[in-house]
Structures are given as structure tokens and as C-alpha cells.
Amino acid sequence: MAEPQSDKTPTLSEHYHLKEKEKPDAGTKSVEVKEVEKPVNAASDEVLETAPADFRFPTTNQTRHCFTRYIEYHRCIAAKGEGAAECDKFSKYYRALCPGEWVDRWNEQRENGTFPGPL
């Protein structure tokens, strides 16, 4: 009931509720979250690669894109352990999207336990 709805309008709570249910079987979760691995369009000598366009965030406003990637990373390392190779992708994405200042503030908030998002 809630799942098809959350597909259409992924409000944050719904979005994460959905994932939380799928979280126990980590295999499907990572498949669901991962975008199809696109071939790097910079197949030349130097690799230019960044966070791909995300169908969940098709608008100009990418605030939530950054926030979501940050949370996805921290949920990923919470599930897979610190330094898990699968999570590197998410860290790359949120670092590409979020201003450094925001990341610093969120890291601080996580340390203090005042982070406002669902971790």
C-alpha cells in the first residue's frame, strides 16, 4: 500500500520507511539503491566522473539529492561496516553534491547525536 505511493512521491519518511523494510536482506537493498552502472562517458585517458543524474531528483533543486546521498552513505556503512567498498560510491556522490560546509556541519551533528535525518 505504502510502497507504490512512495515510488511516486518519495517524501523522506516514506522513502526511508521503504528502505528500512528492505534493509534486512542487504542484497536487494543495494540493488534498489544503486543506479544502473553507467559506462563512464569519459572513456579517455583521464576519468571524469561524478554523481549521475538521479531520476528521484529531476528538478533544479538538488538539496535533497545531496542530503539523500549523505544519508545513503551513512546507512550503507552502518549496514556493511566502516570502509565497505560498496559504500564508496555513495561517499563520492555526496561529496560531489554537498557543499563542504554542509558535510562538516552534518558530521558534527552526527557526532553530537543531533543529526536531523534518519540514519
Partner: protein
């Protein structure tokens, strides 16, 4: 012919505002090309309409002059002309709206995955640019501030209130994502040649997607009143060939942050 060729070949594409400029700066992205073309298309019809309406107006004033024609005709109805002059002008905006909306929405759309992300962070009164695609930790490695060069420090050939100390280096012919946000008050990141004007709203990340089609240096200015030094907040984008981009980034930016 030779004169024309010589003329056209030597005219450098104009990527900064010039005195008494009419019209847009030369396009560097497909978006700006689209904007310029739309402008020209609309202007063609706009001038036709202007001539037509002016003719009617002048003719009416001329012929219905009170001395020449003291007793005017008293026609107050004309169904055919009334229908025509209602329907026809309401069709014209539609023909303007269709290409206009097509262009507008295509600007928002991110069709291809961008190759690099650059964050343009507005401050009072400078800009910080972050290249975070190469980061392996939360420490920012490729971050630099870009200040407008004060009038007294300008070197010969530099544009007043346009030149900055650190330009944004981007690869040409590559899809770029630019994340625009401020750290204090609203700013706006605008580069006319790229067809970009994106407001920077505190607490929000705005994305613009551009692909600069030719190498060059593109100038822009802050376009949202952001305080006293609003006029001294410039943007300079330097598009370099893609093969040079990597070396520019690694040579120019890493030692700089290494010192800091």
C-alpha cells in the same frame, strides 16, 4: 569577399559585456544558442506586428484629423474585423509560447549524466568553488576562492569589475553540473554566454547543467542584490580543452590548497 572573410575571421567571439552593447553575447552553449535564436525568431514577427500596428495608428490619426475630417464616419460595429482582430492576436502568443516553453523545459532537463560537478558557493563578497569529484575524504581538496580584482590592481587588458583572481576552469565540450548555493545571503550565478542565470538561495542547492562548446573565457556577474559589494562580485569561467583540464586541475589547484 576577402574583406568579409577577413572581417569575420578576425572578430573574436564576444564573451564579456562591451560598452553600448545591443543584444546578447555570443553563445557558448547550445542553450544560449537556443535563447538567441528564439529571440531573433520572435523579433522578426514582433517587427512585422509593430510596423502593421503603427501603420494603422498613424493612418487613423492622419485621416481622422479634426480639421481634415470634422465629421467622422460613425461605424461602431464590424463583426468580421472584430472576430479577426480577436482571434489572430490570441494565436500569436501561442506561436511564441510553444518554442519558448520547449526551450525553457529543455534547460531544466538533465539528459546526460554530467561528467564533473562544480559547486559555486556565493559569499559576501567572493565566490568559493569546490571541485569535489576527486575527494577521498570529507576534507575539501580542490577548493578555492575567487575574488574580483580591484580596480587599482588591474593589468592591461583586464576588464574592470569582471576579472577575478582565480577563474573557474572547466573542460569544454563536456557536460557539467554546477551546484549553485550561497553561504550567507541570496546570490546569483550568471554567465550570459552560457545562457545561465541561477539564483543561489541559502539552504538550497540549485543545479544547472551546461556544456560549453568552445574554449574561451566567459564573464558574468552576480545577479541578485547581495549587499554592499554586489557590484564587485564577478564570475569568470575558463573553458579549456578537455585534455588540458586534468593537468590544469592537478597543477593549478592542488599546490594551492597544499600551501593552505
Amino acid at each position: 569577399m576577402i574583406v568579409l572573410e577577413w572581417l569575420f575571421l578576425t572578430i573574436a567571439p564576444c564573451d564579456a559585456a562591451e560598452p553600448w552593447q545591443l543584444g546578447s553575447q555570443d553563445a557558448a552553449t547550445p542553450m544560449m544558442q537556443g535563447i538567441t535564436d528564439l529571440h531573433h525568431d520572435i523579433f522578426f514577427f514582433l517587427i512585422l506586428i509593430l510596423v502593421f500596428v503603427s501603420r494603422i495608428l498613424v493612418r487613423a490619426l492622419w485621416h481622422f484629423h479634426y480639421q481634415k475630417n470634422p465629421i467622422p464616419q460613425r461605424i461602431v460595429h464590424g463583426t468580421t474585423i472584430e472576430i479577426l482582430r480577436t482571434i489572430f492576436p490570441s494565436i500569436i502568443p501561442m506561436f511564441i509560447a510553444i518554442p519558448s516553453f520547449a526551450l525553457l523545459y529543455s534547460m531544466d532537463e538533465v539528459v546526460v549524466d554530467p561528467a564533473i560537478t562544480i559547486k559555486a558557493i556565493g559569499h559576501q563578497w567572493y565566490r568559493t568553488y569546490e571541485y569535489s569529484d576527486y575527494n577521498s575524504s570529507d576534507e575539501q581538496s580542490l577548493t578555492f576562492d575567487s575574488y574580483t580584482i580591484p580596480e587599482d590592481d588591474l593589468e592591461f587588458g583586464q576588464s574592470r569589475l569582471l576579472e577575478v583572481d582565480n577563474r573557474v576552469v572547466v573542460p569544454a565540450k563536456t557536460h557539467l553540473r554546477i551546484i549553485v548555493t550561497p553561504a550567507d545571503v541570496p546570490h546569483s550565478w550568471a554567465v550570459p554566454s552560457s545562457g545561465v542565470k541561477c539564483d543561489a538561495v541559502p539552504g538550497r542547492l540549485n543545479q544547472i547543467s551546461i556544456s560549453v562548446q568552445r574554449e574561451g573565457v566567459y564573464y558574468g556577474q552576480c545577479s541578485e542584490i547581495c549587499g554592499t559589494n554586489h557590484a564587485f562580485l564577478s564570475i569568470v569561467v575558463e573553458a579549456v580543452p578537455r585534455k588540458d583540464y586534468g593537468s590544469r586541475v592537478s597543477n593549478q589547484l592542488i599546490p594551492q590548497t597544499g600551501e593552505a
